[in-house]
Amino acid sequence: MTVTEPATDQRIISYNQAFNETLRELLATDPDVFIAGEDVGRYGGVFQSFAGLNKEFGDMRVVDTPIAEQAIVGLGLGAAAMGLRPIVDLMFMDFVMVAMDQIANQAAKMKYMFGGKATVPLTITTTGGAGLGAAAQHSASLEAWLIHVPGLKLVYPSNAHDLKGLLVSCVRDDNPTIVTLHKAMLGSKGPVPEGLYEIPLGVANVVREGQDATVVAIGRMVQFAEKAAEQLADEGIDLEIIDPRSLLPFDTETVVDSARKTNRVVVVHEAVRNGGIGAEIAAQIQEEAFDYLDAPVGRVGAPFAPVPFSPTLESEYVPDADDIAAAVRATFNR
């Protein structure tokens, strides 16, 4: 585990800017790195996350592709197997579904199927999550599918600082990695050091130390957990918040240590609860900290329905600070 010290460099930029500048620095420092995806080139990406990169590095390093997610991932996989270090973009995490074979059946398995002789330094970037009224096909949270695939690595940064460090680690990793940005966080600002730095994959971050209960929160849920911590503090509950940052590999040790300390845990994610990554985390906690738990590991996630369009439904659908606080309270009132 690591505990975030107040960032020494106080430069404040947005999550989306952090993504863009990191890509620029990676392109500038490693000639084997290139980017490919829909609208990422001339236009700079639908969220302008790739703005200026094509102009600076040209059409072969920041490549506009047809609408063809299977071929986009295949382009990255084939190039990675040849020793390049591709970054391919899938725009929305929902589109993982059309590219799933190339991701989970090809890229993830190539090394093992080939007896270790292949190396696949491929990075896939995408944007997940709800909150923009984008409805059922543009709001996906598919972390649970991806952690079930041996050969992949998956990160879900919850702030601009981590986004940069995790993205650098993924691009430099020699395995297929997936970096999920949350589309509702693109504008959120935070301190981000200049230059390239790595945040090791598989190392969780203790966002807030506390004694009474632990919340393991993923991606955008981290900021809601922090709000919940304030509410609960008034009630005398001192919350510890853990942001795994990397979901595969997963830092079980940091989470279990916290569970053994606080004896109460709630896992929070945006995906639907059933079959969500919270199930895996809860299962691991009860396996490793069974004798320390004073209550069942709680799980907060979306209810079992597709993401609805209307704001009144969507805002109820997406877990928030109140849901988290309620789940924590429930671990005390039994």
Partner: protein, 351 residues
């Protein structure tokens, strides 16, 4: 042996050039059909323009892909269908639903996320649908509507009900796998379907020539063994005539065909913030705006004494009033109630 060459098909005369010619054929089309074509286009134009306007007032959640500029395609295509036929659509689906007879009130209410909308506010712009009208839904996934359309056409053939399906899709969608699989399957099974391509030369913000090495999407018809034609997508009569022929062919059980309509979207890929001039040249935009499908057709209708300018204006005013009324209806409609609506409609309960 000498290998048998397969040279790429000759490029056809650009549709825009071709469209310069007089529309002789329009003469043979019954007046009421011409007026119907006009009405469908105007209905699309007014709903979309008004929707775009209120979206700038923050009244429309989510993404908004407007059909303005492409009215002749949906109108000419759907006018060749009966109410019983089906269509499948795309992320840019409002025009298709309107042309198939969509109800303004339920559309506006849906786009604004109200419980009185077509989908009770659960779908929004990208999933608006009306199965009673045979409109099998807008679709958020590029190309994904086409396999669904092939399934609908299979049902038509399976039942021998004489209905046909028309699948609308954009030029960019023809580069994705689902589109290819579905088109090939329809041809292999000889299903009653018409593949209607809206080639507006862009996929989001990327020009067609950067993502495919052909100019005419219709060249792809050859790959599946079906006829393909290129028509001027700003000429509603040209679209209608091609659609009538393709639909008749499908009804006769002779299988699928493809129609490529050269058209243009006026606004940016999404929303109404500008005309996308960062990636489209002013000249290009002006050239297309100068060939507005409604203006062109109204000039033709006036000169052929089918519809005077004054009468045309009356149509516009009527329809605009209907749009305004629909917006008012939507704004006064209740929001979905999370406590009762969030978890319904996930499954069909056994009865």
């Amino acid at each position: 042996m000498a290998a048998t060459k397969k040279a790429p098909a000759k490029k056809k005369a650009a549709a825009k050039k071709a469209s310069g010619g007089a529309k002789a054929s329009a003469a043979q089309i019954p007046k009421e059909v011409l007026l119907d074509l006009h009405r469908r286009m105007v209905r699309i134009r007014h709903l979309e323009e008004s929707l775009g306007r209120i979206s700038t007032e923050g009244k429309v959640p989510g993404f908004l892909h407007l059909y303005v500029g492409e009215e002749a395609v949906a109108s000419g295509g759907c006018a060749a269908l009966t109410d019983e036929d089906q269509i499948t659509s795309t992320h840019r689906g409002h025009g298709h639903l309107i042309a198939k007879g969509g109800d303004f009130r339920q559309m506006m209410a849906e786009f604004m996320g109200r419980s009185t909308g077509y989908c009770k506010g659960k779908g929004g712009s990208m999933h608006v649908s009306d199965l009673d009208l045979g409109m099998l839904g807008a679709n958020g996934i590029v190309g994904a509507g086409v396999p669904i359309g092939v399934g609908a056409a299979f049902a038509n053939k399976y039942r021998g009900d004489g209905k046909v399906t028309m699948a609308f899709f954009g030029d960019g969608s023809t580069n994705i796998g689902a589109w290819h699989e579905a088109v090939n399957m329809a041809c292999a099974l000889q299903l009653p379907i018409v593949f209607m391509c809206e080639n507006n030369e862009y996929a989001e913000y990327t020009a067609r020539d950067r993502v495919m090495a052909i100019t005419d999407v219709a060249d792809r018809a050859v790959a599946y063994g079906m006829p393909g034609v290129v028509v001027d997508g700003m000429d509603v009569v040209a679209v209608y005539e091609a659609a009538v022929e393709a639909v008749a062919r499908a009804r006769r059980g002779e299988g699928p065909s493809m129609i490529e309509c050269k058209t243009y979207r006026y606004y940016d890929h999404a929303g109404v913030q500008g005309l996308g001039r960062t990636y489209r040249s002013d000249d290009e935009v002006e050239e297309w705006l100068a060939r507005d499908p409604i203006d062109l057709f109204e000039a033709q209708l006036a000169s052929s004494k089918v519809l005077s300018k004054a009468a045309a204006k009356k149509v516009h005013d009527e329809i605009q009033a209907e749009v305004d009324e629909a917006i008012e209806f939507a704004e006064n409609s209740p929001w979905p109630d999370p406590t009762t609506d969030l978890l319904t409609d996930v499954y069909t309960e056994a009865n």
